[in-house]
């Protein structure tokens, strides 16, 4: 899901011409990112069997690995545009899948989940338009959406833990509407900032 394509970083802006070093996609940070997928089968198993605490544990591990991959990338100095994109795509798949699973098993209200996924996909589509407008591979950075992605991870935990589920899900939707609206204007209308040369 693209909501989460949010943790993306505009590498061209944040790491301007730092070096021409090529980073292999097979690096420790991407391995940590990929390992997040391993939490999904046990998560589904736990939800299917009604194991609330185990499901919470697996989604917590998934969220912690998301924080760990950035740290590993810094430690091993293996940050790359591919890594940023892979991280964002993994966020989208893991959290989108998690939301669908909890909604499918009746642990979360279906209408807000459908709205969140729809808005996430719309946000993703606009990111592709932004890349086309820019004429080069560039990621769109949204400080607000980064915060919302963390909230998305928590949403799944609220569902598995039975914690004020309706309140947190319905509170999320207007926030996401505002952010997607703001980001849409930036991506489709506002001028694209020039990448720094040095």
């Amino acid at each position: 899901m693209a909501t989460t394509a949010t943790a993306e970083t505009n590498v061209a802006e944040t790491q301007p011409a730092k070096s021409a070093r090529t980073v292999s996609p097979y690096n420790p940070a991407n391995a940590v990112t990929a390992s997040r997928f391993l939490t999904l089968p046990p998560f589904v198993w736990a939800v299917a069997h009604g194991y609330h605490q185990l499901a919470t544990l697996f989604i917590l591990i998934c969220g912690l690995l998301d924080k760990l991959d950035g740290l590993v990338a810094r430690i091993f100095d293996c940050r790359s545009p591919f890594g940023e994109l892979f991280d964002a795509i993994t966020d989208g798949i893991c959290y989108g899948f998690g939301l669908i699973v909890v909604a499918a098993y009746g642990w979360a209200p279906a209408i807000p989940v459908a709205a969140i996924i729809f808005l996430g996909l719309a946000n993703s589509a606009m990111r592709f338009v932004y890349v086309k407008r820019a004429g080069k591979t560039t990621n769109y950075k949204s400080y607000a959406m980064e915060r919302l992605v963390a909230y998305t991870g928590y949403l799944i935990g609220f569902a598995t833990g039975g914690m004020e589920v309706k309140f947190f899900y319905w509170a999320f939707v207007p926030l996401m509407l505002v952010i997607v609206g703001y980001d849409t204007k930036r991506m489709l209308i506002d001028p694209i900032p020039e990448a720094k040369a040095s």
Partner: protein
Amino acid sequence: MKDQILSPVAFKWFLTLITGVLAGVWFFYDSFSLIRTRKADRSNPVVRDKHFGYVIGIAIGIIGVYGCLRFQGVV
């Protein structure tokens, strides 16, 4: 709940703490960041985006803390 890693009471407090502490810290961190950068040049789109992000972070912090208080039956 069929799985019992923690007792139901401990699990409830665990959820409250990992949500409430993060939401509270987030609220203060983004509030502080917003105050710290209030004089920055808002004609710069990056500054505007950061300010918008801080405001959203504050809103999420409030929602998180309020949700925890509801969960614990305080409000």
